[in-house]
Symmetry: C2
Subunit: 494 residues, 2 copies
């Protein structure tokens, strides 16, 4: 390797906020997504792969979530001065496709999509500008059966990837019930839906902060307002104590059974027509799911689910993993949310002017993968190949034949292709490759028609703890007839 | 669906040159790439997934191919005014990774990568600005054994995806042999490699056009120059007839056996040291491949392979599919090239100043997929789901239970979720979904404990040709006990 003089060299690094994925990081995510895709396929969902690039016009430029209006996209102008951008989610491209192919696609259209999305945000620890999403949506069905189906499918997906029943729960809520509650609380007038918009915005943001601010903080925001620890004042929705009670009652309406929760919600929405509609939808979903055996051990009604209520128009669902992990400070806490979704009915309207009912879920791919690792479902390490070492440069063909035989038997194997002079480097290489077995054949062995197999996993364990009783009788190295190569390697792999 | 008034609606279409992939288009490509990945894994190659975005500096902005210097990238400036761009291939990111992680990666580093790349080119028919690439490279091995391995692996990959032996051939050439030929032809001076650079450029471009211009056209370009049909004159390399003979002799040096081809090349390169090195490399590759059973039915030496000779530095390989297809005009022609690669030794040098030997291959994903379709290996159609129709809106739970039972038995199934009022629409929907079987249970059937199964594939065939003898005895519709649902559907699916 010759040293060159060059004035200025490019930096060998990805742009800020982007990263590379190696080996098992790629295969484990792929295995997880493949398993999920199989479930989605079996439910009749079809894959859709749109390209990374959309027109900014079609994308709508900003996230459809009022709480994060400033999250940007990566955009540029093409040769015709039109603005193009990388997709920031998989829903906006679905909206474009649903509009573009509305005469060709089946109605309803069930589709799933898996792939990277890009966000032009400030990168942070564990926060990247490219990450995977995994979505399933049903476009064109107004029936809550479509929502129930997606909740059931999500449960199946968790179990297929290795989250056992009891370690996850899908919580279901409904935006219409909240609307009914708002009506009772006096901040929604069915005869003039534009009235009290500001107040409803405050209510939505307040209950969205329930986790963080607690009951008292939310009540303050529902009332006159709240002064935080820094002294900053946030104006409240101006609800009376009684009105606020109804809203807070909504978020804590969960009871032991779905039927009891429904009964409680029915009380809360009082005479509101929309509220009653929402309660009926929840009841229907629960009935459909119960009939299929998706009981409270998997899917529950929980009006405490408030995330996304501002965005969705009907049923809202969120999946949480309930097993405990240790957080950064060593404290136990529930793993938490890994997927969420709901019904949104204006998906295609931007393009065609026609409202099309739709419902869908998005799985947080990195979160779910982290959960699988936390549960020990995936190891984070890939099985390295058997390494056939090179003792004699002139007999490469022999070494290649060995690797070929191993591969033909389904065993991952490769010949060392670096400079073979220093044998120690070959074993270091095998170590770096996490190789389980090294195959060695020098001139003596070749003459004797044998090969030496070195058990590198055992070798590593002995190096760690040489007195380990269990390894005592297992030889770390054996010489075997060349003809027995495949069988002996297989035996050593165990 | 209410009609809305809106001043200006976004166009529901992807940017020019981009497209969407639906259903089987996604799953068939995925199945092909999965099969290839399994072969690559077994050879000890590790997956690498870099992000779509690189700094323009790391990317090198332009394609590393002298013949296409102006193919652009999609680029933009980030918040720090640095230029970012979408990767245009998978080699440039590999170079960046190999440099960035050079102390952590094993040497040699075998990696494969599969994913989309983006080119800011004029789109045309069948020519898209985002397309898949599938690469395998070995970085850090100077041995031609690495090149031989990749040729063998490529052969295995073809057979695994369904291109039978005899329908493909991997052709191997070597840039050093061409350099030797250039030396003999008087346009390469080993003591001053910068001399005759312009002439060598003309020679490279001339032989690259062999297919199009034929022997006479290439000879004209090697000599004084060539006037094309339009009257335009292209200056030649200025070789004498004798010198040109050596170059043309090189491209037609292929003989019946590898040994005879090697002998012929040895004549052609005469006393050139580099030429002799190239011939020896070809000989070694052939020996290694022969010893593993990769004979002339799979991999051949062919100095007629000239594509990429200007870019690569040692062995060059190109894979062709040899079976015939009909072209646009209905004429038979060979399917042609689907993969190519070779050795390139300056991959990492841009970043570190150190030359690192590397060799690799890229499969044209869309081309190979088209070949599989041409061979009938994939149908282009996906198996639609069994559709459980909805006769009675109040019994959705029953219909969901049916779909659930079918899915639990591994059968793709779904409940119709559109408006169930018009039963005809449900059957039209099933047709659009390419559904093989419709399940029907109205009130009478429910009371009798039965369901009706409609064989939609048979139905379609009967509709096409009602007199078909073979269908005569097969009923297109059966009524079966509800309890036999899964068994009866399975039987109908055949």
């Amino acid at each position: 390797m010759a040293q060159d003089k060059q004035p200025r060299r490019p930096k060998a690094e990805p742009p800020k906020g982007f990263r590379d994925y190696f080996g098992a990081e790629v295969t484990e995510r792929k295995a997880m997504l493949d398993a999920i895709a199989e479930v989605y396929q079996r439910y009749g969902f079809d894959p859709l792969e749109t390209s990374a690039v959309e027109t900014v016009e079609a994308l709508g430029k900003f996230l459809p979530d009022v709480d994060r209006p400033n999250e940007g996209v990566f955009g540029w102008q093409d040769e015709d001065q039109d603005w193009l951008a990388l997709r920031y989610d998989l829903t906006a491209p679905l909206a474009r496709v649903a509009a573009q192919y509305r005469n060709d696609l089946p109605t309803p259209y069930r589709r799933y999509a898996m792939g990277p999305v890009w966000r032009n945000e400030k990168p942070g620890p564990g926060r990247f500008r490219q990450f995977y999403q995994c979505d399933a949506d049903t476009v064109g069905s107004a029936s809550v059966a479509a929502d129930a189906e997606i909740c059931a499918m999500l449960s199946d997906a968790f179990e297929v990837v290795g989250i056992p029943r009891g370690d996850y729960v899908v919580k279901v809520n409904n935006r219409k019930v909240l609307n009914g509650v708002m009506e009772v609380a006096g901040v929604l007038d069915p005869s003039d839906p534009t009235r009290f918009e500001a107040e409803r915005g405050i209510v939505l943001r307040a209950i969205d902060k329930l986790d963080r601010l607690g009951d008292a903080g939310v009540r303050a925001l529902l009332g006159d307002g709240r002064r935080d620890d820094s002294g900053d004042f946030t104006k409240g929705a101006g609800l009376s104590g009684e009105q606020a009670e109804v809203v807070v009652g909504f978020t804590s309406a969960r009871r032991d059974t779905g039927a009891a929760t429904v009964a409680r919600l029915r009380e809360l929405v009082g005479a509101s027509v929309m509220g009653a509609e929402g309660v009926a939808e929840l009841e229907q979903m629960a009935a459909l799911l119960d009939a299929q055996g998706y009981g409270a051990d998997r899917i529950i009604l929980d009006p405490g689910v408030v995330r996304g209520l501002g965005y969705y128009t009907g049923p809202v669902y969120e999946a949480e993993l309930t097993f405990e992990i240790l957080d950064d400070k060593g404290r136990k806490r529930q793993f938490g949310s890994v997927a969420g979704g709901g019904r949104y009915d204006d998906l295609v309207k931007r393009f065609t002017g026609q409202s099309v009912p739709a419902t869908g879920v998005s799985i947080g791919v990195d979160r779910l993968l982290a959960a699988l690792r936390a549960k020990g479902r995936t190891t984070g390490a890939s099985a390295g190949p058997v390494v056939v070492t090179v003792m004699d440069r002139d007999r490469m063909a022999d070494y290649f034949a060995m690797a070929g035989e191993l591969r033909a038997a389904g065993i991952r194997a490769e010949v060392y292709l670096g400079n073979p002079k220093q044998f120690g480097n070959q074993l270091k290489y095998a170590d770096k490759r996490a190789s389980p077995v090294a195959v060695i054949q020098g001139g003596n062995e070749a003459a004797a028609g044998t090969v030496i197999l070195k058990d590198l996993i055992l070798g590593a364990k002995i190096a760690e703890n040489a007195t380990l009783e269990e390894w005592k009788d297992r030889p770390a190295q054996v010489e075997i007839p060349r003809a027995d190569l495949v069988a002996a390697v297989r035996k050593m792999l165990g």
